[in-house]
Amino acid sequence: MTTATTIEKKPLTATPNVERPAEAAPARRPADKKRVLVGFDLGTNASCVLAGPADGRDIAVSKVIPTVVGYAREGLVDGIIANNATTLIGDEALQHRLQLRMVAPLEDGIIAHAAAARDFIRRVRVVIDPSGTAEIRAVIGVPANAGNTAREDIRTGAAGVFDRVLLIPEPFLAALGFRDDTRLGQANYVDPVTNSLFIDIGGGTSDLCLIQGFFPTPEDQVSLAFAGDAIDKLIEDDLQRTYPNNGLSRATVRQIKEEHSYVGPIRKPIDVKVLIGGKSHTLELGEVIGRACNQLLDRIYPALTGLIARAPSDSVAQLLQNIVITGGGSRIRGIDTVLQQRLADEGYESPKVRVAGPEYKRFVAVGALKAARGAREDQWQHLLA
């Protein structure tokens, strides 16, 4: 089992995009400005932003935005990009990718390109508050094992863009977002914030985290460098062995995986149509896909039981009722039932494993907005630009 280590990194000194400062810096705001609260999941591949007023439960903005910034290349002809914008983010940037130099501001959950991260956050602010006049308070999710430097980089990126921030570990926010507030207090409802185990299967890492009513410490988590990308690689290698030089790209392999992924006993046949050498072929991939996906389960299982063993004994019975799988890997067919069965077979008392469902991308931001609405005045941190 790999216990999560703190993600520490050197302070970001290189600023690759300083030559293109963002053009949408918000104007200074008057004292009587409207207050907008924001839940912000700043993710490696995609970010989710929810915004609304401080009172009530309204959500005025709800967006999933690919975490990418595009800078116009030198000599770009006028009018190719709307309003001759020189910096775009998200889908807009992806649409114009041929005309732009694309930068992904985050790697492995933390900021890797400071200037691009700042440009990204500035434009997210424009989405939230086009007039640039509101006071913006944002709760931002950070990987639970992010070190001080990684946190400071987020604060730096948000300084001068948001007025106040609060950085909260992502698994904790996911649990808060997943919490069904209408059922709180019901005898048969176990609040995931109070007692749950979250398994977030992403692209690069699978992160398991014990959440028991407080801030998860590094010991409460396990981060495995085996997740969606590793499954793609296994399938790709397997296909390469059987069909050398098949020319299938990683993106195609990923697409095949996402369409047919499953865990548990090998299912056959799974016939998949592919183009190899310009000709259409049907490959039977039941075993290849099953073997690769089952490997994920084999890695996650010991980490899961290791964390269960860490939980205080009198919390375990309830904890076993609240194991939640989230992230893209939660879309693998059967992952909840097979994991649950394995726990039951090994003698764990009535385990219940659930998947977060198709809305998994939003839970962190939902939790962040709930935290923003619940935070006391003195808990917010000021940022000075």
Binding site: E152, G213, F214, P312, H382, L383
Partner: protein, 196 residues
């Protein structure tokens, strides 16, 4: 049961106590009984007479877990939170020791080893607090010297003392945030170089 340990930083003598071996906090073991399944707190049903002996190599991670708990007990004692220290010692720590022995055999984690752990952890806790006492005033007097980044500064707003999580009921968001912020402040506390 208890003994005396010397705190490294100030040569203070502190009394440390530890849970007795095989504290009856869990189901009683009865080796004479035939194989009886019983539920232990780790959530698994296991056969009690099958767990006295384990061929597995000693689980380093579990031992670390026990050491961490002992550290917390020592830290609480050092901070004067004796009741909490006792609660942790009689509850979670005792169960951890029990579970370890259930898993690896009754002779694992012998008393002598526990005693050593207590001495080491008591010293570390005392050192850490002594150093924090020395350094924190200096750091708060010269905030800019400790800062490495110039672009932005988070100004921590004075906060009320950390609120403990309620034992039962639904924790309110401000209480959760208080606990989180308190844990963050604690994590930022400097530790002595020897405390690894």
């Amino acid at each position: 049961m208890g003994w005396l340990a010397r705190s490294g930083a100030e040569g203070r003598v502190i009394r440390v106590e530890f849970p007795r071996a095989g504290l009856a906090t869990g189901p009683a073991r009865n080796t004479a009984e035939p194989k009886v399944p019983a539920v232990v707190d780790s959530g698994k049903s296991i056969a009690l007479n099958a767990i006295h002996h384990s061929d597995r190599p000693v689980d380093v991670e579990e031992r670390r877990g026990v050491a961490r708990l002992i550290r917390r007990v020592c830290l609480l004692r050092e901070q004067g939170e004796v009741a909490d220290a006792e609660k942790l010692q009689a509850g979670e720590l005792a169960r951890a020791i029990r579970d370890h022995r259930l898993q690896h055999g009754p002779d694992s984690l012998p008393e002598s080893e526990l005693r050593e752990l207590y001495v080491v952890e008591a010293r570390r806790a005392a050192d850490a607090l002594a150093l924090a006492e020395l350094l924190i005033p200096q750091l708060t007097r010269q905030p800019t010297a400790a800062r490495t980044r110039s672009e932005a500064v988070a100004i921590p707003v004075p906060m009320p003392p950390a609120v403990r999580m309620p034992e039962a009921g639904v924790p309110a968001i401000p209480d959760l945030l208080d606990a989180m912020l308190a844990a963050e402040r604690k994590a930022r506390r400097p530790m002595p170089a020897s405390a690894h």
